[in-house]
Symmetry: C2
Subunit: 402 residues, 2 copies
């Protein structure tokens, strides 16, 4: 293993780094990058925004999750491009460019952890530490053909991570190999190594399958057949309403719950800073931010209550031993530059977030596995489990497809 990463020709990094491990452990010999909303001591954190970067001094300490990786033997080789204020799922930054989707170079990498995904997919690092609020790890994992985990909400310390949406945002990881994802995640989760649970049932979230393109659905069904052969489990299709015992469509998780909590919290964090400082904003972010500015947080408090109720219902159903499966995204990566019309943006975001909001509102651990290929492009198949069942989920995914 070289002491430094290869030179970045993929547009993944904002900065090459070479920070030696501070200790030795399960990550000896591995390398990692850090999404540019997570602090590395002495290096400015841009949050995907040149204006933010220029207005804030460099942090004095590494984020705690970065220290965890260094102490476990990993070497930090760079800071990775993020979408502006991490408020996007597409990975086309007006300021920092579009990191190369290694397996589909004419397509977007997905965001907001675009550089994290590209740095791993292009061989610059074994894994990347990043964040996910509405899908920012899971979407680039799916579109770039990587392993990605959004752990249970707040399982990993957010000390040294820029506040984004405090009730939603979560630190997680991307990796090209499952063994790297598993090892680095276990370090971050601070797990006891011997923790295990038996896999009993494999549910399939029917509405997520229906939302997906037919080609994605066919691939997912085929893969589920292979998992059934390998494990002896019969995949059980289930509607959200059947899972919860209440008449709630999957789309509620996004449109009537999580989306409004996200917007209200974003008003408090980045919104307040923008209103006060009036920084230069990118075109795409400006469009999205218009909706944030006009959002009525008081009217949305009922949605925030619904988030809590959905959390309770989902976790009453997802008892230990149960895994629920669905396509990570409904589509392969859109072509670069194709998200330029409102219709195209709406179609990509609405369908994608209908799926990603399920684990978001459930505060569930979700692992996206690079198992599907449609038209030569990757799509992820996701597995989720109950809140705080991260270690069970890692073991179950290892058993099914690892």
């Amino acid at each position: 293993m070289a002491d430094t990463a290869p030179f970045d020709r993929s547009g993944s990094l904002v900065e090459h780094l070479n920070i030696a491990p501070s200790g030795s452990g399960p990550l000896d010999g591995t390398t990692f990058t850090v999404k540019d909303n997570i602090d590395v001591a002495g290096h400015k954190t841009s949050y995907g925004s040149p204006a933010w970067r220029d207005a804030h001094p460099a942090p004095r300490h590494n984020a705690l999750c970065v220290d965890q990786m260094l102490a476990a033997g990993a070497r930090c080789v760079g800071k990775a491009v993020a979408d502006e204020f991490t408020y996007s799922l597409d990975g086309e930054s007006q300021f920092f460019g579009t990191p190369r989707n290694a397996k589909a170079p004419d397509r977007i990498p997905g965001g907001s952890s675009s550089g994290s995904a590209a740095s791993v997919a292009n061989g610059l690092a074994d894994f990347s530490i990043c964040t996910d609020s509405g899908g920012s790890i899971r979407v680039p994992a799916s579109l770039c053909g990587l392993w990605g985990i959004r752990p249970s909400l707040h399982r990993i310390s957010e000390a040294g991570v820029l506040p984004f949406m405090p009730s939603v945002s979560t630190v997680g990881l991307l990796a090209a190999r499952f063994d790297h994802l598993e090892a680095a995640t276990r370090v971050a989760l601070r797990s006891r190594p011997n923790k295990k649970a038996p896999l009993k049932r494999l549910l399939v979230l029917s509405e997520a399958m229906e939302i997906a393109d037919e080609t994605v659905r066919e691939q997912a069904t085929s893969k589920l057949g292979k998992i059934a052969d390998r494990t002896g489990l019969s995949p059980e299709p289930i509607l959200l309403s059947q899972l919860l015992g209440e008449d709630i469509p999957l789309s509620d998780c996004n449109t009537r719950a999580l989306r409004n909590l996200q917007t209200a919290e974003f008003q408090n964090t980045v919104g307040s800073w923008i209103e006060t400082n009036r920084p230069g904003l990118g075109f795409t972010f400006s469009m999205a931010y218009g909706n944030v500015q006009s959002f009525d947080r008081i009217a949305a408090l009922d949605s925030i209550m619904r988030c809590e109720q959905l959390f309770e219902l989902i976790n009453a159903a997802l008892t230990p031993g149960i895994v629920i499966c669905f396509p990570t995204t409904p589509v392969i990566a859109p072509l670069k530059g194709s998200l330029s019309t409102l219709d195209a943006v709406m179609d990509f975001y609405d369908r994608t977030m209908t799926i990603t909001a399920f684990a978001g509102v459930g505060r569930l651990p979700e692992i996206s596995a690079p198992l599907l290929t449609v038209d030569g492009c990757p799509v992820g198949l996701s597995f989720a489990a109950g809140h705080y069942q991260d270690e069970f989920l890692l073991a179950a995914v290892h058993e099914m497809v690892g």
Copy 2:
């Protein structure tokens, strides 16, 4: 109910406010104050530090928890004094004074939610929204004779609350009456009103009783007898090692686990800001901050792993139906100015945090009830339950002592 609070003669407030409710609901006719590390739109948030206040613009939005209270019918009547950077348990601010402990005026109110507690105890408001990391709600509740709740970690949104210790800090409430505490807490928790669970066992944390002054212990034992008469439950003394099935003393929760996580996270948030900006600091905070500066975060990563293990063990034991009881603080409020020697500070902090770290590391909901009186001064009796069992705990406390 008057439209404004009485004029503050207790030193509780940094600012009188009169913000009308935005809606109507279970908090109609009530008033509340807001700890000065929680945003109120258009008013500077000081974090207990004049330097911080002067360096930061006023927020553009209320914290989400403030909006929740206003929408449920409560009127906001002021911002309440907090200890410098909320990094203290005593409530004697060099900058904002020592808010009056209404029931023991020659004694400290406790901190860091000193003004929140004093505003309620001195009749300026029905309840206060505040925060607790190491005991900042529970300690002033105990020392001022109030009801206080530190909910399960992150149950209440932290959007608009200054980041302090991201894996530890929690929004909670103080009130003079249990019905106010319960109603406001249920609004903040976004609970379904019909949620209930039966109370099955009442444990008593033996080491916390042993740490307490003999007079506090006697009062607590007497009160437990009355609870037994009322509920028919037999209080069961239990050591932490018996509860967990592993040989772990209670003091480990603080000294070998939570304290180091708190210090590492404080380095990332306030510490990084102080190192960069070199603001004027108060004497007491400066002394405490010296330990933060010299802290070796890498060496403490094992303690952070221990936090996760203690969380798992404690919550495997505290299944639904179980409440565990202990004195909130081991002592009544120290006399004002008495925490001026290192021995006095160490004795107060070490004994107090040995108890408060139990719910901290367990991420447990804890309610401090104003049930004990020693030498004419109040002391709290605390009740805790498993993580996310906040609604059960509220109902159980209502049944036992509400």
